[in-house]
């Protein structure tokens, strides 16, 4: 199962760094003036980045644990 998780709309992102500041596990990094989820695997789905994003340009999907992901494989 894929780990489709964090999408930052790069056209909207202003690189303010709020997501970096509030993320408890260091998912984000500013690359070329835009936020990029460089450690997506570390995300714990707390969604603090979404709450604090002034452009509302972060989306978080769902990452299944390996145990669960296996159950949905045919």
């Amino acid at each position: 199962m894929s780990t489709v998780l964090i999408k930052v709309n790069e056209d909207e992102c202003i690189g303010c760094g709020n997501c970096l500041k509030v993320c408890p596990v260091g998912v984000y990094k500013i690359v070329e003036g835009r936020s990029r989820p460089v450690n997506e695997d570390k995300c714990i789905l707390c969604r603090a980045c979404i709450t604090h994003c002034p452009k509302n340009c972060i989306e978080i999907g769902f990452r299944a644990s390996p145990t669960l992901a296996r159950l949905y494989e045919e």
Binding site: V22, P24, V25, I44, L45, C46, R47, A48, I50, T51, H52, N56, E59, I60, G61, F62, A64, S65, T67, L68, L71
Partner: protein, 320 residues
Amino acid sequence: MEKYNDGIGGYMSKVYFSSARMKKLNASESLPKKLPKLLEEAGIGEIVEKGNIVAIKIHFGDLEGGGFRYVRPIFARAVSDVVKEHGGIPFFTDTWGLKHVLAAIRNGFNYTTLGAPILPANGIKENFFYTVKLYKYFHLQEVDVAGNIYDADVLINLSHVKGHPSSGMGGAIKNIAMGCTSYKIRGEVHKLERNDNDGRTFQEAMIDVVKAVLRNKVKKHIHINAILDVQPMCDCAPFSDLPIVPDIGIAVSRDPIAVEKFSLDAIDQAPPMPMSLAEKLGLKSGDNKFFKIHGKNPYHQVYAGVKANLGSDKYEVIEI
């Protein structure tokens, strides 16, 4: 199943329960009509006093608009109506700031449907909280309690019982532990997941949060577990799969641990839902279903709650 403090919670707590299965073909047998009776029997009249501001903690659903098995607004409305009958001033609340309030409105929770306002539990960007220090704790000495929950005179914990990848199951305990705190504490609790494989540390940390949240609510809290649409995954996920067991009913208690244990026992005793993930896995009545699905043993939170003196794992069921 490990038993690490059998006997500490040796008292029997009362759990008031109405089955989803109707015994008569009558409106009075349907759950939205039974919920007020459950609350009255469980002593809501002693908890809500005239003029009290009453926080009703519910899960508003996911932010992306894919999930649909959260608690239906009709049940939430029944709760706010009871609060108002007792002279209380209810409001509905959840975490994740103002953006979750917007998701709530989209998901059907608004003043028209609920008869009460909806507010973010801890401010528009989750920066409104009070820090509570615990003297006895498992992992968290200091816990941030969501400001609007802390300030409320009463907490009604209206939770949806379902699976959860970090704790096996989410119900009364998780509704408070993850939904009535700050994003910082939510992050700390989640980070503790990595301490073990079966979810014990995570669940113990959730109990620390519950203890902090209930600190200023002595005899001013009550817990409603909607054991309906028991989907494998949390309401925060942007999808909803078939429930793993048939609808069971609604349980109400002044003891958050007893109502949780009752809910887990009822789900484990139930047969698997045809065509569901539970059937695919070959789960049967008597299986620890959430453990088999998520690999996390959901009973840890119950026994940790007993150890923290938050309630009892033994209960007497009063069927309404």
